[in-house]
Amino acid sequence: MLQKRLQAWDFYEQAPFPLGRRGDLGTLRIFSNFKFQQLTPYVPSDAHDVLPPAIAQSLQEALVDQRSGLSVQHNASVVKAELSEALKQQGVILTDLDSAVRDYPDLVQRYFMTDCVPFDSTKYTALHAAFWSGGVFLYIPKGVDIEDPILAQIWLDTPASAVFAHTLIIAEDLSSVRYVEEHSSAIEGDQPSLLSSVVEVYVKNAAHVEFSNMQDLGQNVWTITNKNAVHEKDGSTTWVLADLGSHAMLSHIGVGLQGNGSAGELVGVFFTDHDQRYSINTLSNHVGTATNAETLVKGVLTGESRVEFDGMIRVQPNAQQTASFLSDHTLLLSDNCRAESIPGLEIGANQVSASHGATTGRIDDEQLFYLMVRGIAREEAERIIVQGFFEPVLQRIPLENLRTRLRRSIVLRMSDGYESETDTWIDAQERWEVEGVDEYAVSLDIPAKEEEIQLAEY
């Protein structure tokens, strides 16, 4: 493993910084000017057995209350790794990556930054491979279904630090797991820190992995993240990504559909304000036959934030019967925010169904007027429209608590951090029990011909 670190460092030193295109919003360029050398890597946790209060608190409010495992990384060290007895007995392994290198060297050597996120994918993955520390290793043996989610928290609280957190998940044949990773920070001062995270997911035959990530880092943290899943036959992955925090984020999320019949789903939500910068890059890489992918990203920008979205559907030659869909919708709330959306298609096979769609727009004045004419003040009307915009994608998020947390965060962000009792989400999901159809009720479904009777001109 040391060899790999050195090799990665060499690669990092040689590789140029990716700079993006001329005329883009410049997120890659600001990363290339980032003073990595001023940061301190390997800041160990100063917590000995006792979790810092902020972390203990956040565990109380964690996205997952009923869980089958827990891992907490505080700065560069994993301070907690717990797994239910039942799962241990079934051979599930949940441990920090350092221990895994020692205890399961074969597995780690075979899977760590090899096929899923190769260390030499980019300059930044090489940096990660050279400096990784802490991290989570999760191994699920054949046929084991983990029903309650496993929660992983990554906490940063040291100024000017660099944390390189790695998550390696191997789901053997016919197994399944729900994994939730939260990224948070509580760092004093304006000095920037860095969280570099790599997530590698190996999905074997007919296994299923659901990975949710909530990134709510402070404004003094920069983050670079690479997430990828590789699939064997009939394997499937669901990525759920919620990005709210961090000053600057460079994220790559991929599904590699090598196995025939494999499938990937990506649901992403973001909300940026102040001068946040995001570059979000997704890749649906279709290699095997009859693979499916769906990418659905929705985001709202305000303040002077900037978001670049680059979504690629790549269908390799021989990847016949691919079905792939990608959509990215962005709503701009302020005059000074900017969004750029570049969906791309590269199709090398000829029996393919692939489509993409992207929209960027502002709140419709007529919608706003409509709500205001119903007595609702402008700010609240805007909030209702934003909620309605997010709702369809939120409903795709399987984890109830994550949905609730996101709604709350979005409402908070839109009311400048002030929360009042009734600032609750207008939840389209709240359903009334419909007490049957009234005896006298007339169906609202008036036959479609009505539009034909346009009014005669006088």
Binding site: D364, D365, Q367, F369, Y370, L371, M372, V373, R374, G375, I376, A377, R378, E379, E380, A381, I384, I385, Q387, G388, F389, F390, E391, P392, S415, D416, G417, Y418, S420, E421, T422, D423, I426, D427, A428, E430, R431, W432, V434, E435, G436, V437, D438, Y440, A441, V442, S443, L444, D445, I446, P447, A448, K449, E450, E451, I453, L455, A456, E457, Y458
Partner: protein, 274 residues
């Protein structure tokens, strides 16, 4: 005291182009006024200007409601004074359910005509009103839906999203029933409806009619007036009300059209407004 909507010499532009050229009108609670006129005469503009649509610029005149000049008020504040507009083209708002939206709306309207108080919270932003308990709201909705014979499933859908033309119009009437306005402007509520839908919508309006509701019913087609008998009929032409009368005026217009009303001289328009 009964509410009054008084419009005096109202002039309004859209993108610099004059649409309203001096409208005078008085609508009292309990009365039904029909406002007729050809396409482009300014009827819808009038409704939008009364509600404060920022798309239009008021260049002259006044709008008084319940003794206050509301011209500078925001649309939501006008609504909270219990002015209502049933839209000709109701907007759809995907992802927001009718039930939740209407609860917010009712809470706001019940709050009444106060500018939202400021300074009670750290951001200095408007404080939020009290919420109506879901049970109470549900009961009220059920009652109104029964009155208007609206199918219960309607309540769980997103606002106007995927509604047919007829459904949108009925949803507007349902909102009107719920919010109990003192004066309601109904902008071409009859347009795009077939005869059955028109009957249903008219019956709903008639069910709401009473001493507490004044209606300005905007239409350019006499048909709806067969079902809703107005107390007064006004005819708008080229940005002015050029003729006013009783319900019989509607029939006269049906027979004669609008062309004969064309003022021979711009400055000498026929003014018969009482």
């Amino acid at each position: 005291m009964e509410s009054e909507l008084i419009i005096k010499n109202l002039h309004a532009n859209i993108e610099g182009k004059p649409i309203l050229r001096g409208v005078d009108l008085l609508v009292k609670q309990g009365q039904v006024h029909a406002l007729m006129g050809p396409n482009g005469s300014g009827k819808s503009t009038l409704a939008n200007v009364i509600m404060g649509n920022p798309k239009y610029e008021v260049t002259d005149g006044e709008i008084w409601f319940n003794g206050e000049n509301i011209l500078e008020y925001s649309p939501d504040r006008r609504a909270r004074m219990r002015l209502f507009l049933a839209f000709q083209y109701p907007m759809s708002i995907p992802g927001v359910s009718v039930a939740n939206f209407l609860r917010r709306s009712l809470e706001a309207v019940r709050e009444g005509n106060k500018p939202l108080e400021e300074g009670d919270n750290p951001t200095g932003k408007a404080t939020k009103r009290k919420s109506i308990p879901p049970g109470e709201f549900r009961k009220l909705m059920q009652e109104k839906m029964r009155l208007l014979k609206v199918d219960n499933s309607f309540i769980n859908r997103s606002i106007n999203d995927g509604f047919s033309g007829g459904e949108k119009k009925r949803a507007e009437i349902l909102q009107m029933a719920l919010l109990e306005p003192e004066i309601a402007l109904m902008d071409e509520t009859d347009s795009g409806l077939d005869i059955d839908a028109l009957k249903i919508v008219s019956e709903s309006v008639n069910a709401l009619r009473g001493p507490n509701l004044g209606i300005l019913l905007i239409t350019h087609y006499q048909r709806i007036l067969d079902y809703i008998t107005p107390d007064f009929v006004h005819v708008m032409y080229d940005g002015r009300i050029v003729l006013s009368g009783g319900p019989e005026l509607a029939h006269e217009l049906e027979a004669k059209g609008y062309e004969w009303l064309k003022p021979s001289d711009e400055e000498n328009g026929v003014m018969v407004n009482g």
